[in-house]
């Protein structure tokens, strides 16, 4: 990738340092170990099953339907959710988990028996993919990391994992492998921090999504569904 341009930096930062009453610090600034470490105490001792319970409870707060499924049941539960929302077209990520969890080979049945079309995000045809996402009734993705406390799915968008899939359709469905659950944002942030420390390139877009879009801009009344999805469902699947 071509390096970007940086303009007007030196005079700007010299002035900042000058105001702070010292010379520029260009290296050797060590981030301290914070005296307070309170974030690690939240939901710290919970088992995986207890974290699922926390997630379920939080889903009520964030207006999100919550469904549990075993690996075997997953296909039927996804279909149920699509039908319950009246979905006729759905778009998914191009993500190997859709086949490893046995979903892709069911799409023909869904089409023939239930009149539901499923499209996959296609990086070879981004314009068409975006148009399909715009027209789809539902977008379906897996969760990469799931935060129990806030009811959040973390999505690392890149390549086949298009940003639009969880954004443009009016319904969003997240499939959450139980093993992806962590207590809160702290664990996800640390994981990303460690990726960076080890020299990995992080995704150009990491989304923390907690339910459908909403706004309280009109008289502080909560309206669910603004620019992003209007409805959301999480399906937690036992994967171990």
């Amino acid at each position: 990738m071509q390096t970007g341009e940086i303009k007007n930096r030196e005079t700007f930062l010299d002035k900042v340092a000058g105001q702070l009453g010292r010379n520029r610090r260009k290296d050797n600034v060590i981030r301290p170990r914070w005296k307070h470490q309170v974030q690690w105490k939240v939901l710290a001792d919970l088992t995986e099953n207890e974290l699922v319970d926390v997630l379920e409870k939080q889903c009520e707060v964030i207006h999100t339907d919550f469904i549990r499924a075993t690996e075997k049941e997953l296909e039927a539960k996804v279909l149920q959710v699509l039908q319950a929302y009246g979905v006729k077209t759905a778009m998914t990520w191009d993500d190997p988990r859709f086949s490893s969890f046995g979903l892709t080979n069911k799409y023909v049945d869904w089409k023939n028996n239930n009149d539901i079309d499923v499209f996959k995000w296609d990086i070879e045809n981004p314009v068409q993919s975006r148009r399909l996402a715009e027209q789809a009734d539902a977008g379906i993705t897996f969760s990469d990391i799931t935060l129990a406390e806030s009811g959040t799915v973390v999505l690392f968008s890149s390549g086949g994992k298009g940003r639009s899939v969880s954004l443009l359709p009016s319904t969003y469905i997240a499939i959450i492998p139980k093993s992806s659950l962590v207590p809160r944002m702290s664990q996800a942030a640390r994981e990303i921090h460690q990726q960076i420390e080890s020299g990995e390139q992080i995704s150009s877009c990491i989304n923390f999504i907690s339910g459908p879009s909403n706004s309280a801009d009109i008289e502080m009344n909560l309206v669910v569904g603004v620019h992003g999805p209007i409805k959301a469902a999480y399906i937690v699947v036992e994967d171990r």
């Binding site: 086949g160 877009c205 999504i209």
Partner: protein, 481 residues
């Protein structure tokens, strides 16, 4: 829209606010709801004080090393193919952004909410150049449709408008035909704006926190408009105040956790979107070109002063939501896009005392703001510091206060005069005494006693009492004055 909004004179802005019954009702109920949500969220989290200490510790370290972290940020953004422009002034920032837009031959610009672009009046500049600039945050959109009305709150910009007013604005300007139900109004805005997102040439966003270690800009939102703006247009420009930065993702977690709770009582908002550079080649969506504009515009002169912690602000508006003065006069009375206690502290720092000398007095100094601030900015103490500066250094206070402060300085500065004055006080006020209190005080006491009584000075002075007090029957203060 620049930093300054509304009429020039503070008094007429305040009178306008006090006279606006609907606005005051709306503010009261909004404050109530937001305060409840915040305190419930803080209580539910537990250890809120510890969280605040952590937030403060992080902000202090970051500000002390701001040049280092901004340098790191710019290098990381550039490594990922993004461009970074450091803008010392509003003009610099607007000039650079205009250049990018010109180069792209862009006509339609979709914006998500950004206070700093309000501060530098970017929209005016772009509209003058013939661009169609669309605010896509619901509250901002309502204000923009309503002939660019100014925001009155930094989190809920259209807080002062009711749903009937919003319906009428949509009806008059956009041919809206439905009811004043918030759901229907919102759905209408969704339909209108969806077309704009899909056809915009450039997306402009603000930045809640940039992460230095990875060159990431994080956007904390609920509506999804910032995701649209950073997913659909081919070019993205992100504008950030230079202090909106954290060292690593671990600190991003802490500050986002504080922000969402303090602002709206949510554990997290619907979306926290972390964007690093333009899209990668293998990505199907996202901007092909990414520009980060880092804005100073008066911030650096706050560094290294007693007011440095004002730069710790994470724009949650918790101080605004508890302020009894904001409750009565509303956001527009402050005459700044940054209202409430933080506005009264920050606005004079950014724009000088000349136009904003009244703002530090728009406070009862009750300290509720300082108590709720998630990063522990000593807001009400800063307001006192401002008042001292205005009186002592800038000579800009009103006459009676000036005389009072000067007189006090003169008298208190001389041991002899002070002695006489304090001895005389009980006798001098005698003509004003009624039922053992002062009910109609002279000169500087007038404003206070206009509404309430003042207790009488004690007949025995503290200094005399101290001198003659005894401990266990033994006289202990035996040094002379």
């Amino acid at each position: 829209m620049p930093l300054h909004v509304g009429e020039k004179a503070f008094k007429s802005r305040v009178e306008k606010g006090l006279g606006n019954e609907f606005m005051r009702g709306a503010v009261r109920s909004a404050q109530g709801r937001l305060q409840d949500s915040r305190s419930n969220a803080a209580e539910e989290l537990g250890d809120w004080e510890e969280w605040r200490n952590l937030g403060q510790e992080i902000r202090q370290h970051t500000m002390e090393n701001l040049d280092f972290y901004l340098q790191q940020l710019s290098e990381k953004v550039a490594e990922r193919g993004g461009h970074v422009y450091f803008a010392e002034t509003a003009e610099d920032a607007n000039h650079y952004i205009s250049e990018v837009i010109e180069k792209k031959k862009a006509r339609k610009i979709a914006k998500s909410k950004s206070m700093v672009t309000e501060e530098i009046a970017l929209n005016d500049i772009l509209e003058d150049r013939g661009c169609d600039v669309i605010e896509t945050d619901l509250g901002e959109y309502i204000l923009q449709i309503d002939d660019h009305a100014p925001p009155s709150h930094i989190v809920a910009p259209a807080l002062h408008k009711n749903k009937e007013q919003i319906r009428d604005v949509f009806k008059e300007k956009l041919g809206y035909l439905h009811t004043d139900k918030p759901e229907e109004l919102t759905l209408f805005a969704r339909e209108q704006l969806r077309k704009e997102f899909l056809s915009a040439d450039v997306g402009i966003t603000g930045c809640n926190f940039a992460v230095a270690e990875s060159g990431t800009c994080a956007l904390v939102t609920n509506e999804g408009n910032a995701r649209m703006v950073s997913t659909l247009p081919k070019t993205q420009i992100t504008v950030m105040g230079m202090e909106r930065i954290v060292p690593t993702w671990e600190e991003l977690d802490v500050l986002v956790s504080l922000l969402t709770r303090a602002a709206v009582g949510q554990k997290l908002t619907s979306y926290v979107t972390a964007l690093t550079g333009p899209k990668e080649e293998s990505d199907g969506d996202g901007p092909e070109e990414f520009h980060l504009v880092v804005v100073d515009n008066g911030r650096s002169k706050i560094l290294g002063t007693e007011f440095q912690e004002a730069l710790h602000c994470i724009r949650c508006a918790a101080c605004i939501n508890v302020c009894p003065v904001y409750r009565h006069i509303g956001g527009h009375a402050y005459g700044s896009i940054y209202p409430g206690p933080i506005g009264a502290v920050l606005t004079p720092l950014l724009a000088g005392y000349e136009d904003y000398k009244e703002l530090p007095y728009a406070s009862s100094l009750c300290g509720a703001c300082t108590e709720v601030c998630p990063v522990k900015i000593p807001l009400h103490e800063y307001l006192i510091d401002h008042r001292r500066n205005i009186v002592e250094k800038e000579n800009k206070s009103n006459l009676s206060e000036k005389l009072m402060m000067q007189g006090f300085n003169k008298v208190a500065g001389s041991a002899g005069l002070f002695n006489i004055a304090t001895k005389m006080a009980p006798f001098l006020v005698t003509p004003f005494v009624r039922d053992g209190t002062i009910s109609k005080g002279p000169g500087p006491l007038k404003a206070w006693t206009g509404a309430r009584n003042l207790p009488l000075p004690q007949k025995e002075r503290f200094r005399d009492w101290f001198k003659h007090r005894t401990k266990g029957g033994q006289h202990i203060a035996n040094r002379g004055d």
